[in-house]
């Protein structure tokens, strides 16, 4: 056999760089977790071939009440709401790790186009925030308030484009003529979304992609056949309900013991925990193989490999509405690191399963469109800037919400598929139609069910640190100020609740550059 030159050996880890005549074989293994409880599971990969980054993990849960269509995954993140923390480990070393994963993924989910949400994500992982114009497409001639006003071109606003299972709250009443047109029509989620048992007793199963939960795998494929250590994936799950009714609605307006996994239909009579069906959790791992000779050549030619990748570091802080209005400077860390971007959002700690997005959202400044004096109606403002290495990123603090939105686009290189009212609560583009009796938009914050479910709930911020500099010892400072925010939600089952809420949490993630080296089968990780 002629000797192979190093230049002739293809880069097996880079998708798209393999010559088309290279034989490739994919072997699929179904891995059971080696450890699995309702709070944690660990998968251990077999050290063979190259791990395909789009391998999938399957989950299923037992709904709190399997006799009712009354529970669903949060619409923004779907089954990813189960994941609280995820870590990819090699031996005892952590390659990448993300905390508060479901919140992190609420931000990442904004970049999924609506059509993908509707046609793919809703089925694979339960994400279902796609919008469509709600047309007055009925056939009667009654007024719009009664659902009439025939038009297949005039839309009254946007509604969730998930299923046509809308019920009519006016059905059977004297004024009700046409079901399809009713402005108060109400989307029923349960049966399509998380559903009770079917005849065989099985609930829907859902899947998540490895590359989605481990950003390392988005850019690299793991050459498991070259690694001598154990490669494992650890997943910590979000909190289940602490007791029979803790945290879920049915008159209960939340609390610290909330079920962080599912949302529930209001007034669901019997609610409780939603445990993970451990017997159905599995990892469908695809291992890629090339001819043995080629893989050996590759191993010999790459005794020292290095991977550059990004990891996300969470920094979170409780903050009161008063402090938000006064303006704050917060140190996010990052000293000595190369940080390429920062993104952050604001969550009410008591925002829970009574809301369509659960706690996986970001609150916009308060808007007040119900003020009796029209000249005082307003949208609150959020003023932001970042300072690092003694310089501000933007010469003038950013206040314009559309500019904030654009900054996300500049940061990620992708456009967020989020409607204006959903992002900044500006304008009335959402319809008054509901989901499970909850309004998509609202100006009322007194009760959980009257709060806006989509309006101003995707108000994430992001900034790209465009100088490619190492952060100095002072770290990154976030300057932020909100003119108004909605009152923090309160604890208790009274309606409206009486006790004060715990306020807001601001979560910020730093995208830091890391490097992993693979030398003689052993991986080392360090910050770039």
């Amino acid at each position: 056999m002629s000797k192979v030159q190093s230049g002739q050996i293809p880069d097996l880890l880079k998708i798209g760089s393999i010559p088309v005549n290279t034989a490739q074989d994919v072997e699929t293994s179904v891995l059971e977790p080696v450890v699995h409880s309702d709070t944690f599971c660990r998968f251990v990969f077999q050290n063979k071939g190259i791990l395909h980054s789009h391998s999938k993990i399957e989950f299923a849960i037992s709904p709190p009440d399997p006799t009712q269509f009354a529970h669903a995954f949060p619409l923004g993140v779907g089954v990813y709401a189960l994941i609280d923390r995820v870590a990819l480990k090699c031996g005892t070393k952590t390659i990448c790790e993300i905390e508060d994963f479901a919140n992190y993924y609420a931000y990442k989910s904004m970049f999924v186009p609506n059509e993908h949400n509707k046609e793919r994500e809703a089925l694979l992982n339960g994400r279902a925030v796609a919008l469509r114009p709600a047309y007055d497409d009925g056939a009667d001639t009654a007024g719009v308030s009664q659902g009439g006003g025939e038009s297949d071109s005039q839309a009254v606003g946007l509604e969730i484009d998930f299923t046509n299972k809308y019920s009519d709250t006016n059905e059977g009443t004297a004024n009700n003529i046409d079901v399809r047109n009713d402005l108060s029509k109400d989307l029923q989620l349960g049966d399509q979304h998380s559903g009770p048992s079917d005849a065989s007793g099985a609930q829907n199963g859902w899947q998540v992609s490895l590359s989605e939960i481990c950003p390392f795998l988005k850019m690299n494929q793991l050459p498991l056949f070259m690694i001598k250590e154990q490669v494992s994936l650890e997943i910590h799950f979000t909190k289940d309900a602490g007791s029979a009714i803790a945290g879920l609605p049915g008159g209960n307006d939340g609390g610290s013991s909330s079920n962080m996994r599912v949302i529930a239909k209001p007034n669901t009579s019997q609610v409780g925990s939603s445990p993970i069906q451990t017997a159905r959790t599995r990892l469908v791992a695809d291992y890629i193989f090339y001819p043995q000779e080629l893989m050996e050549q590759y191993r010999n030619a790459n005794k020292n490999m290095s991977f550059t990748y990004v990891d996300y570091r969470l920094s979170k802080m409780s903050v009161s509405p008063t402090d938000l209005q006064a303006g704050m400077i917060r140190n996010l860390g990052g000293a000595g690191r190369i940080v390429s971007k920062v993104f952050w959002g604001l969550q009410d700690q008591e925002h829970n399963g009574t809301s369509l997005l659960h706690n996986y959202y970001s609150q916009s400044p308060l808007r007040d469109y119900d003020n009796g004096n029209a000249s005082l109606r307003r949208n609150g403002t959020a003023t932001m800037n970042i300072k690092y290495n003694d310089n501000f990123l933007y010469p003038i603090d950013v206040e314009n919400q559309a500019r904030h939105f654009h900054n996300i686009q500049q940061t990620e290189g992708l456009v967020p598929f989020v409607n204006r009212e959903c992002y900044s609560a500006e304008g009335r583009s959402l319809s008054t139609r509901q989901v499970w009796g909850r309004p998509l938009r609202s100006e009322t914050y007194t009760t959980a069910s009257s709060r806006p479910q989509l309006s101003g709930q995707f108000n994430w911020y992001a900034m790209r640190l465009n100088k490619n500099e190492r952060i100095n010892s002072r770290g990154i400072e976030l300057y932020f100020k909100y003119s108004d925010v909605p009152p923090a939600r309160k604890i208790g089952i009274a309606n409206p609740p009486t006790a004060d809420g715990r306020g807001y949490v601001q979560r910020a993630w730093l995208e830091v550059i890391r490097t992993a080296t693979l030398t003689d089968g052993y991986i080392q990780c360090y910050y770039a």
């Binding site: 186009p113 114009p133 949208n379 933007y394 314009n400 500019r403 939105f405 989020v418």
Partner: protein, 444 residues
């Protein structure tokens, strides 16, 4: 290490009030991106600010849903930009000038974005939404219009800014800074009464207004040695205007461009231009005075008097079946080819509801106009996407020369009533910008 910087540039001609409106006599917004040793990243340029619409002349009343005041839902804030002019700040030489920029965007957006883009990110950045009523409720009838108004953050699609190369701002070996001018459109071409009764509805004083306008962009250090002559290639858009009023409509232009990639055009009944009763941004099909369909039956493109790029006549479906109410697929494909190669088109707004020659939502007549009973605008999914176009070179992407030969278009139509239509023509061509110590030169 890169040394990108974010720039924040306020208009050089803004009044002390910070408000800008056509009605108040400020029809031009001018930004100066100063001469500096940096490369301007064209795709990072955004015009930001606040946008508001007032119902009365003194700017104290916000329109409500009871008023019929609307604006074009697809183009959003783009509807307010009549001309985009980009000049060298040092020499004032025009680098790119797009007239009827809003009409260009009315055809460009449906060819490059989808309805879901309209529902999503475009609603935040350009204030467009894919339904006339939602756009009105959200933007025109802005509840917070007295205080915080509509925020917008607008990219300016044009040849120079869509390019991937950085634009050298240096005075020696660059353009010497940029002067960006936005010429605003008249209020009555941006706003309209959706019942065509603006006088009776007391909307004749309504106007739009900008405030807190600034230009945001990013620039990167220019590491090239100074004083060198270099070239910069970009795709430009040149605009032309004609009118047609015949069953045998003929358009002929000396484009004066040497590397033309495609030509697109849209139409509007002439009386609807600057008419507060009608949407001046709509891109509907040709129509007769009484609202009857006006089919285009045959299209012939010519170059220098010879058929080109098709060596044959394009007979549309309506030639044989006049009652066919959807656009001919060839018509749609050619219009997309004019902007972007059809094969590369990923997102577009042409659907079965926006590609119709009638308007089911407006009643029994087809696009009734002039009577006030219906409008081209009351259509689903953002309205019609009637753009006539042709691509000349989707393979080499080098374009076809029209520098010495004229472009011609021959349409056989059913325009039998005396009803002139404005025809806005846009030529998409490659340009080369040469700059150096001697100045700036644009090679068409």
């Amino acid at each position: 290490m890169s040394s990108n910087v974010n720039l924040h540039i306020t208009p050089s001609n803004v009044l002390s009030s910070g408000k800008i409106s056509y009605k108040a006599g400020n029809p031009v917004i001018q930004f100066i991106v100063g001469e500096q040793d940096r490369l301007l990243l064209g795709n990072s340029i955004r015009v930001c600010g606040k946008f508001n619409i007032w119902k009365n002349a003194i700017g104290t009343t916000i329109p409500t849903s009871a008023d019929n005041l609307s604006m074009d839902e697809r183009t959003g804030v783009y509807a307010t930009i009549d001309q985009l002019v980009i000049k060298s700040q040092a020499t004032h030489q025009v680098i790119e000038h797009i007239r009827h920029y809003n009409r260009f965007m009315a055809s460009y957006l449906p060819s490059t974005t989808s309805q879901q883009d309209g529902v999503g990110h475009l609603s935040e950045t350009t204030l467009s939404l894919p339904n006339y009523n939602i756009q009105k409720l959200s933007v025109v009838d802005m509840e917070a219009g007295h205080t915080t108004k509509n925020d917008f953050c607008l990219h300016l699609p044009c040849g120079l800014f869509n390019g991937t190369q950085g634009i050298p701002l240096s005075g020696s070996g660059g353009v010497g800074g940029l002067l960006i001018e936005l010429h605003l459109a008249p209020d009555n071409n941006v706003l309209y009464d959706n019942k065509a009764t603006s006088v009776a509805d007391a909307l004749t004083d309504s106007y739009y207004e900008f405030s807190d306008v600034f230009l945001a962009c990013e620039a990167v250090e220019d590491v090239r040695p100074p004083g060198q002559t270099s070239t910069f290639e970009y795709n430009s858009v040149s605009s032309y205007f004609a009118s047609i009023n015949s069953t045998n409509a003929i358009i002929n232009f000396n484009l004066g461009l040497s590397r033309v990639l495609g030509i697109a055009m849209n139409f509007l009944p002439s009386f609807m231009i600057n008419n507060l009763d009608y949407n001046g941004m709509t891109t509907g099909p040709l129509t007769n005075k009484d609202g009857r369909n006006c089919n285009i039956k045959q299209i012939i493109f010519t170059r220098g008097g010879q058929k080109y790029p098709y060596m044959y006549n394009l007979d549309l479906e309506q030639q044989d079946v006049p009652t066919q109410l959807t656009y001919d697929p060839v018509f749609i494909r050619n219009s997309l080819d004019a902007t972007k190669s059809f094969a590369k088109t990923g997102r577009l707004q042409a659907t079965t509801r926006t590609s119709r020659l009638d308007n089911p939502g407006a009643g029994p007549a087809n696009f009734p106009i002039g009577t006030g009973t219906g409008q081209l605008t009351k259509t689903a999914e953002g309205g019609p996407t009637y753009t006539l176009g042709v691509g000349f070179d989707s393979i080499s992407n080098q374009g076809i020369s029209f520098s010495t030969e004229s472009f011609g278009l021959n349409l056989i139509t059913e325009l039998t009533s005396d009803f002139p239509h404005a025809c806005f023509v846009f030529a998409h061509a490659k340009n080369t910008l040469v700059f150096g110590p001697g100045g700036v030169q644009v090679l068409n």
